[in-house]
Amino acid sequence: MANTAAPLSFQDMILTLHSFWSARGCLILQPYDMRMGAGTFHPATTLRALGPEPWNAAYVQPSRRPTDGRYGENPNRLQHYYQYQVILKPNPPNLQELYLESLVAIGIDPLAHDIRFVEDDWESPTLGAWGLGWEVWCDGMEVTQLTYFQQVGGYDCKPVAGELTYGLERLAMYLQRKDRYHDLAFNSPDSPLGAASYGDVFLANEQQMSKYNFEIADTDALFAGFKAAEAECMRCLDADIPLAAYDQAIEASHLFNLLQARGVISVQERASYIGRVRDLAKGSCEKWIAVNSDRWAAEYDGWSA
């Protein structure tokens, strides 16, 4: 891959990753149309990581972390940002090498930049999931999380999936040598219809959504929404539709994050809310396995949850 003189724009970086992973056999999916804290929440990762069937997919997922909002004033922190997510099940033996090739593809020369795999085990209490792996450092900056999923929803991953989560804004700031996300080139500077920066596209979002998350969101409505999602999730589980149930788990998780940003959940309550979200996610995983396990056991001799 050519290391072009002009660094890739934000959108070209995404397009490059899409074509890179597409060429290596991944389905290129679109973002999930729900508010979620990380690309891992996408059912293409959470649910598809379970069961024996091979699954290889890549997608961009907008990720919302209400408490990280800084009203657009912090050069590095956003309440809404993009993750590039790759899930490969079972993980290929050359997962690290594939990943490093993708860095070269977007313009990082590993003999000019110091790339390191630093221990970072991943755990999501709300998904009942954990894995071992690394955060990948590029010149001391964490640009990607690489994880071998061991459990999801409390179930062993059989087989193990490899997950790559690229922090797109960080990588772009790095590639484009920018100190503030505002200044990132969103598209190419010589775009026929004019250049746009990341700030042009998202600064107002950051300002308004930070205000909403911290000050405006109606906490009574959020509490009610949480309860409603919880109840709806249960109804879906009873109806044996785990995909629909899981949507409600995603919803509850985001509402909980908003309630935290509003500062209305005490330290003691926090653990209990996380437990409730985990129960929804685990319930969805359990049902996902239940509705599929006969077929899986038939197609993969001796497979069992």
Binding site: L111, R116, F117, E119, L132, D139, Y148, V267
Partner: protein, 733 residues
């Protein structure tokens, strides 16, 4: 004889696990081989993030022949017994030998195991070692992980080299076959390389940008990081932990120096150092005046094409972002006075039975104030002690301590100073966790001493109150450490007080709070409208009065319980402290039995007595007196005697002892009273001659019962005189 090389290459092994992995590899290797009758000689184990390597020099190519003997049943034993034995050893009857064992013919099975080729042994041992590897955390991976039975390892295992001499040891685990190939540096030499033997292993890797010897990488990082700092006119702040960690993160370490914006130096230096170390694994530097400089040293894993310029620029940017965060926390925290932060402690549970951290803080404040106002901590202003205690935990809710818990105390001190609080208060907040372990500085500033001691006494007292005492190896609330800290504070500062009594305050406070909560729960209806029941005694009394009719009996009962329990706990805490004191004084050479022999609820005085006594016991006078005491005590133990009996016509030695006691007894007692322990010992020493002479020439067990009784009484008087100083029966020797 040949040299053996084993390399286990895998994806990046966490730096913190590499030292343990090296030790485990050698241990497992030795264990596997010695079970097969091979004793390896010198073994070298190396590690990088991507490989574990073991070289065993002068390795035999053949195992030793072993003869295994097993004793069987005696001749004439039942057929059943014999058959069982034959099954066990796998032989037939005619293969057994019969030997004479204590005059009895006995079957013996002798199995000769011939020497085996060592390559067979190794081929079995290598997979066994890999499977048995005790990683702190391990995982499954790849297609094989369709089953949970697949191999678990720290990260995916990629290849195995096993060469004895120049011959491949063929083995296989999880579809990985041993071979001669490994990989060089990930980026400098991405292709495979072929190893010929243990001899060329390190050199071939070096040629491919891998320094396989971790110690060589550590030395290199140490030297080059130092050199980078001094080239910039600075001094590296040495950090051995960072040296080892960076050596565990690199195969070809290259330390590089970078600068950060000087404006960040407004943030406390400890914060900068911690951010750089914990988050980025950078060293920091000091200028000639010993002040933190705006420089860092990172350790890259490549010889960069541009000499490291881009790497330094990238790292500088990351550190700047980290320091911006730290400065943001610092500035945010400065906006909120500590007193206001302390209010948030009401929301943090200290322990489910013991209320919130705010409750703890209030108890500590009360105790610290008491220690000051009673003069127990001399020259300590009670108001400052209270203020410092009230604020000492406030930094727990600050952004900075939330991010870096290890900065607790320190940050509180900075914030207190920035707020313009009394420097004594700021210092007390900063240092009140001290001393943390043996060897840590023991505070001496009065306000700090009061807060630190109160904090520790409170922790010990309240956990004893709810029966959460340390047992065996379990000490979940680190009460032993708190007790050692309290003892150091008391002894180092010469704090004179009846220390068990100090526990009454937290014990009663917590006891009443728990009782009040219980009663409130049981009598919720009666208490409605009264507001919360206070935990202080005076308010507690008035609350009792106002709801007397409803719940007075229950409360009285509980208050009595609280009192009784507090008294019981105080004596248990005293014993607990005595044990801790023995541990603490062991290194100073103070004998535990001498500590046991002296009873004193003033720790400072207790230790002074112990010191004097130990010196005395070591002297000839003391040793003889102790022998005399033991002899007297033995006689008294065996014989009955009537107290108060006197011999109207004592023998000379008897008379001498009576006279000596009449002098020495009161003298020892009053010397102890006056804390003249040398004097007390001298008084005891004056008894040595008379007691020796008494035993020499006087028969205690005289035929005349009156004389016998009087002499026993005399020995008891001697014992009582000695007990003025210490209970010699507890002293060994």
């Amino acid at each position: 004889m040949a040299d053996f090389l084993l390399e286990l290459r895998c994806e990046e092994v966490p730096a913190r696990m590499q030292a343990g992995a090296r030790a485990d590899l050698e241990r497992l290797f030795r264990a596997e081989l010695s079970a097969a009758g091979v004793t390896p000689g010198a073994i070298t184990v190396w590690s990088t993030p991507r490989r574990l390597a073991l070289i065993a020099r002068d390795f035999p190519t053949q195992t030793q022949a072993v003869s295994e003997e097993t004793k069987g049943p005696p001749l004439g034993a039942s057929d059943q017994a014999l058959e069982g034995f034959l099954r066990k050893v796998g032989l037939t009857k005619d293969q057994l030998q019969v030997r004479d064992l204590k005059g009895k013919g006995t079957y013996f099975a002798v199995v000769e195991k011939p020497g085996r080729a060592v390559n067979e042994v190794l081929a079995e041992a290598i997979p066994a070692i890999i499977r048995a590897f005790p990683w702190p955390k391990s995982m499954r991976w790849g297609a094989a992980s369709l089953s949970t039975e697949s191999l678990r390892w720290v990260r995916p295992l990629s290849s195995i080299i096993a060469i004895l001499g120049e011959d491949l040891i063929e083995c296989e685990i999880e579809r990985i076959h041993s071979g001669y190939a490994t990989m060089g540096h990930r980026f400098h030499h991405p292709g495979e390389i072929t190893i010929g033997s243990a001899h060329d292993y390190a050199d071939k890797l070096r040629a491919c940008h891998v320094l396989v010897d971790h110690e060589e990488r550590q030395d290199l990082i140490r030297e080059r990081a130092r050199a980078a700092a001094s080239a910039a006119g600075l001094t590296l702040v040495e950090d051995e932990g960072l040296v080892i960690e960076n050596a565990g993160l690199t195969e070809w370490p290259v330390p590089l120096l970078g600068r950060f914006d000087e404006a960040f130096l407004d943030v406390p230096p400890e914060v900068i150092q911690l951010t750089a170390r914990v988050n980025q694994k950078y060293f920091v530097c000091e200028d000639a005046a010993g002040k933190l400089a705006n420089a860092f040293v990172c350790t890259a894993n490549i010889e960069a094409v541009d000499g490291g310029e881009a790497i330094v620029a990238g790292n500088r940017k990351v550190l700047a972002a980290r320091l911006s965060d730290a400065r943001f926390f610092w500035e945010q925290d400065l906006k909120t006075p500590l007193a206001q932060q302390a209010k948030k402690l009401e929301r943090i549970t200290f322990h489910e039975k013991l209320g919130t951290v705010a409750d703890k803080v209030e108890r500590v404040a009360k105790l610290a104030e008491w220690l000051a106002s009673e003069g127990i901590v001399p020259n300590c202003d009670p108001a400052l002690a209270r203020q410092a205690a009230e604020l000492c935990k406030a930094d727990l809710v600050t952004e900075m301590v939330g991010e870096f818990p290890e900065l607790q105390g320190l940050m509180g001190g900075y914030y207190a100073r920035a707020e313009g609080l009394d420097p004594q208060v700021a210092d007390a907040i900063r240092d009140h966790y001290k001393p943390v372990g043996q060897g840590d500085d023991v505070p001496t500033a009065p306000v700090t001493v009061a807060v630190s001691l109160a904090d520790k006494l409170d922790t010990i007292g309240v956990f004893f109150a709810i029966d959460e005492k340390p047992t065996g190896s379990k000490d979940p609330f680190a009460l032993r450490r708190s007790a050692l800290g309290a003892i150091s504070l008391i002894l180092q500062n010469g704090l004179r007080f009846n220390f068990p009594f100090a526990f009454i305050i937290p014990l009663i406070d917590v006891g009443l709070a728990i009782a009040a909560a219980d009663v409130k729960a049981s009598y919720g209806g009666a208490l409605k409208g009264l507001g919360s029941l206070s935990t202080t005694l005076d308010k507690f009394e008035s609350a009792i009065e106002s709801i007397r009719v409803e719940i007075e009996p229950a409360l009285r009962l509980r208050a009595d319980d609280v009192k009784a329990n507090a008294i019981k706990q105080v004596s248990q805490i005293s014993e607990f402290f005595a044990d801790r004191l023995k541990v603490q004084q062991r290194d100073a050479g103070v004998r535990y039995d001498i500590i046991d022999s002296v009873e004193d609820n003033d720790l400072v005085r207790l230790l002074a007595r112990v010191h004097a006594l130990q010196a005395f016991i070591a002297s000839p006078d003391g040793a003889n007196l102790l022998a005399g005491y033991k002899r007297a005590a033995n006689i008294l133990k065996k014989e009955q005697f009537e107290p108060g009996a006197a011999n109207p016509s004592p023998e000379p030695a008897e008379k001498a002892l009576i006279d000596a006691l009449a002098l020495a007894g009161p003298k020892a007692g009053s010397a102890v009273g006056a804390e003249d322990f040398a004097g007390a010992m001298a008084a005891l020493a004056s008894l040595r001659g008379p007691i020796d002479a008494f035993f020499e020439s006087v028969t205690v067990n005289d035929a005349d019962p009156a004389k016998r009784a009087a002499r026993l009484e005399l020995l008891d008087a001697f014992r009582r005189a000695v007990h003025n100083v210490a209970d010699f029966s507890k002293i060994e020797g």
